[in-house]
Every structure is written in C-alpha cells, then in structure tokens.
C-alpha cells in the first residue's frame, strides 16, 4: 500500500483537478443525463420516472426530432466533404513552389478563428438577406434576387457556405501532412513520366490517408456540434419552417425554452450515440483505407 502511494502519489496529485473534472463535469453528468432521459423533469417538480416514454415518443411521434436529424445530417453530409476538399485543394496549391505561402496561409486561416463567433453569424445573416450583398452581386450576373435565409429550401446552404469559408484549420493540417511526404517519390514519378493526376492518386492520397482520416473524424464531430451560427441565423428557433433546426438548437430549445429537461436529456443521449457510432465506424473501417507509414516494414 505504501509502495503504491509512493509510486503513484505524485502523479495522482497532478491529476487531481482532472479527476475532479472528469467525475463531476463529464462522467457524473453523462450518467445523470442518462437517468434524466427516462424521466419527465421540468426543474420545478422532482424528476418522475417514465421508462422509455421519451425515446418512444421521440422515434415514433416527434416530427421535429426527425426534422432536426434530417437538417443536421444534411448539413454534415454537405459541409464536411465541401470543407475538406476545399482544404486539400488549397493546401496542395500552397504546398509546391511558392515562397510567399505565409501570407496566403494567414488569410485562409483567419476565417477559421473568427467563424464561430457571434459577430460573423450576424454578418452572415446580413450578407444573405433579401437586400444583402450576395443578391446584389448575383443581380450583376442577371440572377434574380432570392431570400436565401428566409427560404426554407436554401437556408441550409448559407450555413454550408459558412462552414466552407472556415476551411483553414484542416488546410493547415493537410499542409503539415503534405510536407511529410518525401519529395523523391514525386521526382521518381516525374522521371517515369507519370501524369500529375496519377501522382495524386498513387502518391499523395495514400500517404495522406492518415491525415485525411484524422480531419474527417474531427470535422464530422465538429459539424454535429454546430450551434452558435445556426442559433443566431435562425433567430434561436430553427426558423424558417424548421429548415435550420439543427439538432443542438432543438435540444437547447427543449431544455431551456420549454424546460423539458427529461426529454432534452434523451435527445442528448441520442446525439452522443450518433457521434459515438460515427467515430466508431471511422475507426473500424480505417484499417481498410488508412495505412500508417511505420506499419510497413
């Protein structure tokens, strides 16, 4: 026992804040939220056990839940690939033969830092408003103006564009990945007369696979968590016609506008499971398409 303390004491002392945080702010709340998800709870009366009612209602009768899933999945499916492709293309442009890369890199990265702020969400609302700049530019090309944000069919695309605008951080990760690909591979391919597109398919993509995988997992989780910009652009409600009813926005409203804490907890758990499943799939399938450099002998 004494030896255990002597061996582990200092480390556990350093970990104490994290332990406290983990139990009080992560594990405890997750379990509490699992419990609450089986109750009806309005913060006034004590939680009342209702079994699987919340989940049954959610999957069988709650249209807004399905709408929220639909909106969020659409967003993830559009925004993540768009952002990653953009990041990869620009990273490859910046990677080769440019000495002034620093300035471009800074300009392209800046939106990533600002993008999730309220100021930018406010700006985005105005850019795509009926009398906004975007319509004015389109008018010059003879395209009739359109209420991008208040039309339920187009509102989601304004948020996808906002996500694309913030391609900077995956771009930086791609740049670091591209740097680590040995140059002589390209030189050898060049001598053999391999066309560029085949160099991309046979050298760049396979060697970049771990980085692409990493970015994909990270960006997908991020995209599922999107909240502030959707909240601001949709006036906090998911409007118009629930077309911006992001899952997180729906959850927030159930919890803090209608105080259906039990139901919101059930929503939270479904979100957790969705994200866990996606991360799990990514990791399970990774061995088929991600090969790490040091695995080869």
């Amino acid at each position: 026992m004494n030896r255990f303390i002597a061996r582990n004491g200092p480390a556990y002392a350093f970990l104490l804040p994290w332990f406290l945080g983990f139990f009080l702010l992560a594990l405890g709340p997750i379990l509490a939220s699992l419990y609450l998800s089986f109750t009806r709870y309005d913060m006034v009366a004590e939680p009342r056990w209702v079994g699987f009612d919340n989940y049954v209602y959610m999957f069988t009768r709650d249209r807004r839940f399905w709408k929220a899933l639909n909106v969020t999945f659409t967003y993830v499916a559009l925004a993540v690939p768009a952002r990653l492709i953009m990041a990869l293309v620009v990273a490859m442009l910046l990677d080769k033969g440019l000495r002034t890369i620093g300035v471009y890199r800074a300009i392209f990265y800046l939106p990533s830092l600002l993008g999730s702020s309220i100021a930018i969400a406010i700006l985005w609302r105005q850019l795509f408003a009926a009398d906004g700049v975007v319509n004015r530019v389109l008018a010059d090309f003879g395209i009739p103006s359109h209420a991008w944000i208040t039309d339920p069919n187009t509102s989601i695309y304004t948020l996808v564009l906002l996500a694309m605008w913030q391609f900077g951080s995956p771009m930086l990760i791609f740049l670091a990945g591209l740097r680590s690909i040995p140059r002589d591979l390209y030189e050898a391919a060049e001598i053999d007369g391999t066309p560029k597109w085949r160099q991309f398919l046979r050298i760049t993509l396979p060697l970049l696979a771990p980085v692409i995988f990493f970015n994909l997992v990270l960006q997908t989780i991020e995209a599922f968590k999107t909240f502030s910009s959707a909240f601001i652009i949709s006036n906090g409600s998911g409007a118009p016609a629930d077309s911006l009813l992001f899952y997180t926005v729906y959850l927030f409203n159930e919890a803090f506008k209608f105080f259906r804490m039990g139901y919101a907890s059930a929503l939270a758990w479904v979100l957790l499971i969705i994200i866990a499943v996606f991360t799990g799939i990514a990791f399970l399938t990774s061995k088929y398409w991600v090969h790490y450099e040091n695995e080869r002998d």
Partner: protein
Amino acid sequence: MKTSAIKSGHPLSEASKLDFEIDEAARMAHVLRLKRERQQRVGRLLKHAFLIGFSAIMLYPLLWLLSSSVKPEDEIFSTLSLWPSQFMWGNYVKGWYALPQSFTVFTINSVIVTSLSVVGNLISCSFAAYAFARLTFTGRSFFFALMMMTLMIPYHVVLIPQYVQFLKLGWVDTYLPLVVPRFLASDAFFIFLMVQFFRQLPKELDEAAMIDGCSPFKIYWSIILPLSLPAMGTAAIFSLIWVWEDFLAPLIYLNDIKSYTVPLALRLFLDQEGQSAYGQMFAMSVLSLVPVVLFFVLFQKLIVRGIATSGMK
C-alpha cells in the same frame, strides 16, 4: 560552321559528327529547360493570380463588415462599394452606448471570464499533461484513453445535469459555471496538445533532476514548464480566443444584462433589428473581433504550429 558543313554535303570526320550531336543535344536541353522554366513561371503567375483572387473572396465578408461599420445607414445595403461616401465614426460611439448597459461593462465581463479561464486551463491542463506525459503510474493508459474520449463528448450532453447542479449550488448568474470547470481541466484539447509537446522533451532531463533529488513538482515547475513555453503559449492563445467567442455557456448561465459577455450583448442588437441600427451593430461586431485578429497577427506562428501538431479545430 558545322551546320553549313552538313548542308553543303561535305564529308565529316566521325569526331566532328559526335561534336555536333553533343552540341545539338545541349542546345535542345537548353531550349527545353528555358521552355520548362517559362512554363513554370507562367504556372506560378497563374497560381498567384488565382490565390490573390481567392484571398479577395475570402476576405470580402470581413472587409464588408468593416466598411459597413463606418458607412451611413442608407449606404450599407444599397452599394457594393467598400469605400463609404463619408465615414460615420459615430457608429462606434453610439453602438458602444446603444444597449441598456454600455460595452464598457460587457468588455470588462468578457475580460474577467476570459482571463480566469485561460489561467485555469493552463494550470489544470498542464498538471494533467505532465502526469500523462512524464510520470508512470497505475492506470495511465486507461485514464489517458478516458481523457481522449471526453474530447468526443458534445457539450450538449453534459449541459443539462451541469445546469441543474449549478442551479442547486446557486451559481447561475455568476461567472463560476464558466470559470470553475476550466480549473478542473475540462478542456481536454489542451491536455492533449500539451502531452504531445511534453513527450518530445528528453527523458534524461527528468532522470538527472530526479537523481539530484528534485521532487516531481520541482521538475514540472523548473524544467518542463520553462521548456514548454511555446506549447503553453499556443494553449493560452487558443483558450483565450475560444472563451472570448464562447456563446452557449454564457447564454445559459448569465441572465442579468449587467453580467453579459460581449457575444451575448451582440445578440441583443438582433432583437432591436427593426430599429435599423445596422451600422452600430456592425461597429460593435468589428470591435468584438479585434482582440482575436490582434492575437492572431501577433502569435500566428504559435497558432499554426499548434494546429499542425495537435490538429485542433
């Protein structure tokens, strides 16, 4: 000389023939190289042209925000030009006092929350990272895996129980729910970032210090931390920017307008949208971004390296 010899059909010695072929090959190579260099130059120029145009598109929204903040109200939506016909600096003054509380209050609030959070993050996360990266203890890989898993958990999942708990503690409408979690290493990103960095430092440092009788805390404080200033700087800047821009937690925990942070205050402008104070709203939006841009410009190197090594958002 030789060319004319060939043309006129004079017999050539083998040697001069070879000479000629070598010359010819060299000339061809030279031409090819010039051509390739020209192609490369043209390619580079095209690339620059594209990148400059693309930069302009990327920056346009920000420039539009900046210019709209000093434009006369009727010009904001009526013209594409970024240059205002007259500069309405008054937008900044009027915007500062446009809400029931002035932005002096909101800024002070944001500064309090942000600075406390940054300090909390740095202390608690570097503690945890030091243990994970430099100490051996029972259950290290298990706890490390747990820590990495918390990276995945959406804040929305822990939000409701946390809120209920903080409400019972009487912490709602104080800064405690925003600040205390940061002293408990709740932003696992920074632990990960620091672990990555701490691991690169040579193990011999700790061993030598241990032999000299240094305690683990002494090693942390006088060896690891001083050598990890870049990592600490990166973590400090990121946590500063993220806390400064944080919206969800303040939205939930702060109800009294006197305790609002800047992002919450900005949202109030939207509720008054009908009163057409766009210029003021944009002016305050610009001001809210100034610290972020400033820190980005000053510490770009740390930020770029931080992302490249840890892959943060």
